[in-house]
Symmetry: C2
Subunit: 133 residues, 2 copies
Amino acid sequence: MFEIIRDIGAITRQIQNVSNAEFRKLGLANNAFIYVIRTYEQPGMFLGELADSVQIDRTTAFRTVQKLVQSGYLELQHDAHDKRLRRVFVTPKGAAIYPELHAFEQQCSDRLVSQLTGKQQAELKLLLSKLVY
Amino acid sequence: MFEIIRDIGAITRQIQNVSNAEFRKLGLANNAFIYVIRTYEQPGMFLGELADSVQIDRTTAFRTVQKLVQSGYLELQHDAHDKRLRRVFVTPKGAAIYPELHAFEQQCSDRLVSQLTGKQQAELKLLLSKLVY
DNA sequence: ATCTATTCATTGCATATGCAATGAATACTC
DNA sequence: GAGTATTCATTGCATATGCAATGAATAGAT
């Protein structure tokens, strides 16, 4: 069953490459676009929470978010009750590019599963959601 | 269907993290263990071929292989007919650790699919093999 | 309430990464 | 077979990455 690990690893790296190439022009290479997408969809996560949700090292995520704040896509707010937390939100600039980012993600996905029937696609999605890591 | 991309991305990064932590003691962090596994199983690939097979940037792969040659896990040979090519092989030292590397990979996979029935596991493997990238 | 253990964000530092460019060898065209 | 286009390995360079450590804030225990 180790082929599963190998396959998803190769696919992930490939998609990462094309995505980074696609979004470099927006200053969103190095997986930065992922943070904008996730933050748009789930605003108010704190930094570590966001990092964990995409399984990226917290310090790397921290620095990427800093850059995205600098470039105006994201903003940070202190939590009202827990002074340790810094919650992440998209700015209008970040919200404005979300459709483009998500459309590309969608397009990559569609291409990826283009050899599967609709039923198989649903089955794959279900099986993947059951993986434990 | 974009959940597919997100799921496999998160899983891949997670597995990468635990694998690197596991093999750091052997000097095989930063995905280096992948090259030993692949080279053991398919000896004689040239550098770019090996890089492409795991979807890692060729220059990164090149440098990782250099390190593995330095540390004695891999060796390079010039191709007899095409002077551009450098073919990769495992050394006895590389061959000696293959079982450990592969066992860990196996163990990660088993854990990953532990919530699936045998039939579902086979189905997942089949579906993944049909993905196009 | 004090003491201890966790959980955050953040920084330092050594190293890895990857785009762009180079030169050498081979393939392809006419 | 000269000329052009590809395909290699390799290097330079700027940047990203991630482990380890820090200090501040909170949670949990006694």
